[in-house]
Symmetry: C2
Amino acid sequence: MKALVLVAHGSRREASNDEIRELAQAMARRNSDFDKIYPGFLELAEPSIPDAIRTAAADGANDIIVMPYFLSAGRHVVKDIPAEVDSVRDELSNIPIRLAPYLGQADELIDILFNQAESSS
Amino acid sequence: MKALVLVAHGSRREASNDEIRELAQAMARRNSDFDKIYPGFLELAEPSIPDAIRTAAADGANDIIVMPYFLSAGRHVVKDIPAEVDSVRDELSNIPIRLAPYLGQADELIDILFNQAESSS
């Protein structure tokens, strides 16, 4: 079972956290390489990144990809998220857990930006 | 002349601000409906949103689209950015200035997320 953990920062504003949970659900409804999609939060919301990974493992995942839903490579992307992921590697040493590039690195973002801008012009 | 103002939050980390400036430059190199692309920052970096809009107007823009490069509809997207845009409307009353949906509203984000995730799996 292949799992994707979609990582957001987490917010004091619960509606923002729900946006991420709904995005994970919308992704789960799509056909993709992934059998299950789990939201995970760096701080201020639940589940934490380690807990999301643990849940994926408990559900039977034998391949886990963690992707930061972030636009820029700040400290959270460069240090904090990798550290959270590393914190469960020993505990789940039989399951490969890989970090995907953060969203902001995707070249296709430019196409989306133009689509959004042109649709309102 | 049609202008796009790409609005980011702004960061104390200048490398993050440069990422946005480079994104605006990369967009400018693409063929699109827009003749010029301007970065603008809500806080912590220059130019401000009003200054970016003023520069577009001074460059001859007669149609300006402002797009929030944000993933969620927090206070910045809902209130602060529209207020910054409104602050120059009287001054530039002969130029239409429109707000595009924020990036996070784009349906195509899901495709990008899967592409990123699958490329690392």
